[in-house]
Amino acid sequence: MADEPEQTGIVLTEEQKRSRRARSIAIALALGALVILFYVVTLVKGPAVLNRPL
């Protein structure tokens, strides 16, 4: 019996894993920045945050 279970499906190479990790971190940072942006804008505009004139 083999020590390691046989992997099925798509197996990522080390390079693919590294680039996926970097992309995931970038997406997380972008989402975090968006949360901060919405929070700060809400503080700045106060109740007027709902007032969006055309």
Binding site: Q16, S19, A22, R23, L37, V41, R52, P53, L54
Partner: protein, 322 residues
């Protein structure tokens, strides 16, 4: 077969030949490159000028949000442009190293990325700043991607002339973000960028005519020849110079801007005249590249002076000009 149908066929072949199920090796830098950061920087700068010269107080956070959305929207347009033009990019020397032709990003990934960025930038601009600015940003992205990239670019040598409107909108969006309306001043800035675009791009396409011919893009030098292109560059430069000075003539800018616009416009015509009169192949290419480089400087200085003058409350010129 026409250039259009051959181009469309080539596009289908490139898209069909990609491997959509191969796990991606794209780096974050590849996605940044898709957004055309150099074009984004010019868009942000012109939008900043539109935002700052507007007669309305804008909170720095709101101003930053507006510029961020405009930058991301411009990036989205760049991504969708690279998605659709991957076939053209693959055969042109200048663009063959882009992420899609190189196979680092699959066309489908680029399409998803571009649509997501466009939707986010428009919605956030509308929700946090102004729906008029958001509508203008949406129209700009639509114009650049659908009207210019998908239609005009492969169809007519006037692609750059009409398509230039997309690049001219950012100062209007910046102004709309600040005021919630559109005035005469941003329309003048629109006209400056609009008439600046043809001589700027045609000077580059004169040098890259072989590239465009190979990619079957009907740029003016490919369709009408170098001679006619040089003539058109001079004509558009001659129209651009007085339009560049219009904000001063109409009283929206000060004396320093006026002098800068007049001198800069005269230099633009002089560079265009050199392009028109130079015939020796090597010197002609050099003259075209000099005009290309100068045109960037011209636009940057013009907008920078407008920004500085406005920042100093018109002290530099309005008092003297009045």
């Amino acid at each position: 077969m026409s250039l259009v149908s051959e181009g469309a066929e080539l596009a289908v072949r490139v898209r069909a030949s990609s491997a959509p199920y191969e796990p991606s090796i794209a780096s974050v830098g590849d996605y940044v490159a898709l957004m055309k950061p150099r074009v984004m920087s010019l868009v942000v700068f012109t939008a900043l000028v539109g935002l700052m010269i507007a007669p309305a107080h804008v909170h720095p956070v709101i101003g930053f949000t507006a510029l961020l959305c405009i930058a991301v929207g411009a990036g989205a347009a760049g991504v969708l442009n690279m998605w659709y033009d991957a076939d053209i990019d693959a055969v042109m020397t200048r663009t063959s190293s882009r992420p899609i032709p190189q196979g680092r990003i699959a066309p489908g990934e680029a399409l998803g990325f571009g649509v997501t960025l466009a939707a986010f930038s428009i919605c956030v601009l509308g929700l946090l700043v102004s729906w008029l600015a958001a509508a203008l940003l949406a129209f700009t992205i639509f114009f650049y991607v659908v009207i210019y990239t998908m239609w005009l670019k492969r169809w007519t040598p006037l692609n750059i002339v009409i398509g230039g409107a997309a690049g001219a909108f950012p100062p209007v969006i910046g102004w709309a973000a600040a005021t919630g309306s559109i005035g005469v001043e941003p329309c003048l800035l629109f006209l400056i960028v609009f008439f600046w675009t043809p001589p700027h791009f045609w000077s580059l396409s004169l040098v890259r005519a072989g590239d465009y011919a190979r990619a079957r893009v009907p740029m003016l030098p490919v369709v009408a020849g170098a001679e006619e292109t040089r003539r058109q560059i001079l004509l558009y430069s001659a129209v651009l110079a007085p339009i560049g000075a219009a904000p001063w003539v109409l009283g929206y800018a000060g004396m320093v801007y006026g002098m800068t616009a007049l001198l800069g416009g005269a230099a633009m015509i002089a560079f265009a005249w050199r392009v028109r009169s130079e015939r020796h192949a090597e010197r002609a290419d050099r003259a075209a590249l000099q005009l290309f480089g100068y045109s960037i400087l011209y636009l940057f200085v013009l907008f920078a002076v407008l920004l500085i003058e406005d920042g100093l409350g018109g002290l530099l010129g309005r008092g003297m000009g009045a």
